[in-house]
Point group: D2
Chain length 405, copies 4
């Protein structure tokens, strides 16, 4: 069977698949499933082009990995064929545990972190592929002695981040996120087993970090998609609550499993294959399909949130550097109770405050290292004159329906 | 309420909304629904980026319409403000009657053409908006005396085609479809009430027609997405058949309505509001969600087709300039019956032949007119030396499961 | 005569000319001359695509000005037709006084600032155009009561900067300079007569300032083009010195005028038309043509520098945050004298140190003002959490021939 | 010495140099000279961005050659390292014999074809590089047994054409010339020693041929740049005539050599090094510099044409499918003689007719071969249903000053 395949990618032109096993993994239903999970959830409510999937992102990251391997090899860094294959597998599968609208789901439907699910998926695939993923899993879990391979998969300058900044920027149309990914990759090297960036790449790194921060504010934490996500979380929470109370809900089969039963990480481990098979059938379509069915449900909160989400009647959002005053919140909560048929206790479904933080670059985690011409390295934050966004920024938000004033 | 709004669009940069009523129409659930309907159905199985929606396309076409109006006005073509508003409304709503995977649906679930549904939606919206869509509908139905306005909405060089070629080319990454849309629009004019293109624009028109033809072969009629679409049609046909037989199917509410009842154009007219409201809740999500649920159905054909579609195990496709020989078909059909638990009669669900035609440019329909410097006009096909793709090309296809040889 | 004209521009697609007088100004030999002057001098020695001219930049800035006017008018800022025309003229002509390799020339051939020459050119054109440039000149010199019009021409966020960042980034291929110019322009407004940026545009402004700084380091002060420029300055200085000594040089007519005579600003004022006509015939071609002729001159320094520039044998450059130690300089100077037939006094032609500074954003000059939703404005530097590059950065350089060690 | 070098290229992102000898060749003054010769002559008078040089084009073609080699090798086509190096050298130097405004020069100043000069340059460089260019020259002259290597350098689908269509389209901003070069290269293969294109690439080839034809009409034979080129030819012809008459002309040294002496191909062969050294100092700058100096010459024709070219007062051009009627020409010639101080005999400098032809694809030359899945090949023109532009198209032009009516 012909395993040569080229994907058209509007971001990079073409993506080719370097090894047969990658082709087989891509063909597997577990991976095909990622075609049905959007990379940035409800962000398309703000940027209508942002419908790209985790499937496409995973291919893109694998494409960049191939380029990185080729650059490092040209600099005489030893990467064997099995290592190259393994690191490509690792990046291809790095997000395979993601469910639909990941964060929302993790809060409500599934009590397991997507990273843990990714590992479980890899282990299951490893079994199905007779151990051929051993090295990939070692690299993914940072147990392999060539640490830079793990860094390429997961670090402050990994192929994951390079691809998603590129891709999210491309599909949203937010040019502020454009990065010189090709230049960054050309500047990669390895020194004492650690991934480094050659001195000439400093400006590209700086641009990359700043682009990352700008994308946080303009896309990832955009207040409108933040409101949509919080509404989605509360809608699913309400559905879960009703399910717990034994209320009957019109809900697609794939979603029913996780709505009416509480699965933990242990359940997934003990009953891996069966639960992963179930989980693999759950995606964006079930959530949206359910919301549409719930519009006519007798529970006001479920119906109201579902209809608001489907018709894109999103809540008003306020952002603030400080937490919102509690009496102001109290006053609004009061209005909500007066306006809608909800109890004091349930008002939290319709009016809610919270906070989001972001840190484009962390000096506490393993830092990006710059390799100077004289051979010494320095962490990026050391290099004066460059305005690196190291601080953690916190924003407080407050959401409630638009006809509350 | 602030009705100024700018959409980020990776294709054009920004799209702004020129009139308040357009904003209100965009906000309407009937229009928001288009966010949930992909422009090119299952094409993303071949080009993973092609997830863009009819919502985005409609906005894009409206954006180009604004540019066209502005160009024509700069050439002293009289377009009043109400006319400009109406033609923008007409283009915004030109596709509003589309259902999910349009062609598939039209063959199976709904016995109505999407153009007719578009008109019904416009009439319903016109009622809800107190008659403010009168002129738009007149233009849409080509009853308005300034014929060029209709041509901008629907013709061989309309804003619909300009946008979808652009957009489909952008999101698929197939550069062969790139057109000089801005140049074409700059060259538009009106002569004796008819839309014309200034002589300097001939090359751009030629490029546009060729791009259109190339997009047909590379995207719209790509053999892999053709196979996927035919499988989808047969899967829904099977579901419909089972429904008719009274078999119980696990199916989302929005889809159930149309699976278990046969609605005709007349039903839609007699019961407009209610049926449109139902139809407006039906979208891509329900179809995909249903396929996933049907994987475990006891009917082999329904289950087999559903699983094949979900896991992207697409059938083998052969293309031919001539119809396939009937004995060859017979032989394959025989193998299908031997391999799968299906009757002779039902084999057509798993092996099928058919044909697709395309004509990038038609000389029988109203032709694109070129305006020469001396003031006379000529139809594009008259202008020798330019290789215009006028012929109708027919391709025969044959599809069956990959493990049949 | 048809004055409608559209320029193809790879950066913006199309540039159209809104007023007849702009067309006539563009046709004038003084403006056509800008076709022969590269925007970024010898930068193409580093970035081979950077051959774009001041002609193209001026058109581009005029294009952005039209967009800015249209955005401001849509926000009910009153800009009359004469004002719009005048501000377009002002931006079109803002750089008309630039000579070839501007900075080099200002140091050696012509004792006049390009800004002063721009004003002289405008005055001369105003006379030739019977006073039609009066208002444009008022705006250019910031004497017009609507100060925001001047700010659009010359300020920390003017159409000049927006275009050159865009354009230089495009033609060099340095993506770090890409800015969201369309978004910035959409966010412009006027408050109390001052140009402001709406709050939503903060991130775009931040990106713009950072892009500006990155372009400084990667392009405008790139060490290789810095070396080339310094070599060019010294080569012309040597030619001027020789000319002063009465040595005969093979030199194109247009350059001879300025090499053998010292013109001051006063000379230009007193003899405006004639001197400007001469100056308008001087461009990049004469300088390069002269260098080629000088390769065979008997003066070693002139010949050596000319040949090095033509063959792109550029000097070695060191950059430093601190001034270079004088004994190190002394040692190198000594080596130069030993290696080449030059006197101690003339060694400065072959080894030289100096400094360059850049400030992407200045808080001492009129700051960029942000307009908040509640109507108050704040200078950009006030807005915490945004890392604005306000500092002045100084780099010391040291250049000498590559075979000196 | 570090010979690793990366060029920024706005068209491809980055261009790297695979072999040390390529680096040395690029550094050679013969090659650096190409920085001073524009790829498309005076086309920037129509498309102001089209200032790119033969230097950049040669690098770009070399970049595509590397990609082609890598694709072919991945398909098990044997290309040894020396062969890869040689074919890269051949494409890098394929245009090294071009002079400024090539066609104009070939008609007037130098009686030698640029192809012949290219070979001479290669032979001279081969001598300077101790025979290291032997294989490259063999390939260039199609004497090497692996014919596909020559085809990559020079054929109907060579890296030269792919790059110049791309590059000219990019810098002019004429999107009609955009081609899917990466797809075409991915589809290249070799069958029986001949370069072929895999079946899947048919559409890209078709698009490429059509783009080529559109670029002919919109760029290469654009009537305005055609007028400019013809004026330039006549201006140089006049200068040559005056030189022959012993008239003294103010002219840069590099140009003087070729204006006052008639060199033939034999002269170049007999006196290779010296004449090539002289020729290598001649470039666009000398021509333009001379025109400026000639504006004040006493010969009316020389002065008139020079000033018209410098100020971009280009002649009127008419295009026609048939030759222009001789009495019409006669009438115009008469007017020219009445209007300007020129004799009947000299009128041909100011009014001239001629013809240009183009053939995007030739079936008489070695055709592009398509490789079908079953292993057989067919020439592109055989494949029906595809509208390949095979015809030769001829256009007749007529030019004269704009104030003649």
């Amino acid at each position: 069977m012909n395993k040569k395949k080229i994907f058209n990618d509007p971001v990079y032109g073409f993506i080719s698949i370097p090894y047969g096993i990658l082709f087989d993994l891509i063909e597997h239903p577990y991976f095909q499933r990622l075609r049905r999970i959007k990379q940035v959830g409800l962000t398309h409510y703000v940027y209508p082009g942002a419908l790209h999937t985790r499937f496409h992102h995973a291919l893109g990251a694998m494409h960049l990995m191939q380029q990185a391997i080729s650059v490092l090899r040209s600099k005489k860094i030893d990467i064997s064929k099995p290592e190259a294959r393994a690191v490509c597998i690792a990046i291809l599968l790095h997000d395979i545990g993601h469910g639909p609208f990941s964060h929302a789901l993790e809060h409500t439907l599934v009590n397991a972190h997507h990273e843990d699910l990714s590992v479980l998926f890899m282990q299951e695939l490893n079994e199905q592929f007779s151990g051929k993923l051993d090295l990939a899993i070692e690299i993914f879990e940072d147990r392999y002695h060539k640490g830079f391979l793990h860094q390429l998969v997961s670090g402050q300058l990994d192929m994951d981040r390079l691809d998603y900044l590129n891709r999210d920027s491309f599909f949203t149309g937010v040019h502020e996120g454009v990065i010189g990914y090709d230049r960054i990759i050309k500047m990669l090297s390895v020194k004492d087993g650690t991934l480094v960036v050659e001195q000439k790449g400093i400006y590209s790194i700086e641009k990359f970090l700043i682009a990352r921060r700008l994308m946080y504010w303009q896309v990832y934490l955009h207040k409108t998609s933040l409101a949509a996500e919080q509404m989605l979380i509360r809608c699913l929470k309400r559905a879960k609550y009703l399910a717990t109370q034994g209320v009957e809900l019109d809900v697609p089969t794939a979603l029913r499993t996780f709505l009416y039963t509480d699965y933990t990480s242990e359940d997934f481990q003990n009953n891996r294959r069966a639960l992963l098979d179930n989980f693999a059938l759950l995606d964006d379509h079930d959530i949206i399909s359910a919301f549409k069915a719930w519009i006519n449900h007798s529970d006001f909160i479920l119906s109201f949130l579902s209809k608001s989400l489907i018709d894109r009647r999103l809540f008003r959002v306020h952002l603030n550097n400080e937490p919102f005053a509690s009496d102001h919140l109290e006053m609004l909560r009061h209005k909500v109770v007066q306006t809608y048929p909800v109890s004091e206790a349930d008002a939290e479904y319709l009016i809610f405050a919270g906070q989001e933080t972001n840190s484009a670059y962390s000096t506490s985690k393993k830092e990006i290292q710059i390799l100077f011409k004289d051979g010494h390295t320095e962490p990026m934050s050391n290099i004066s004159e460059h305005g690196i966004p190291t601080g953690i920024i916190t924003k407080h938000y407050l959401c409630y329906p638009k006809n509350i004033h």
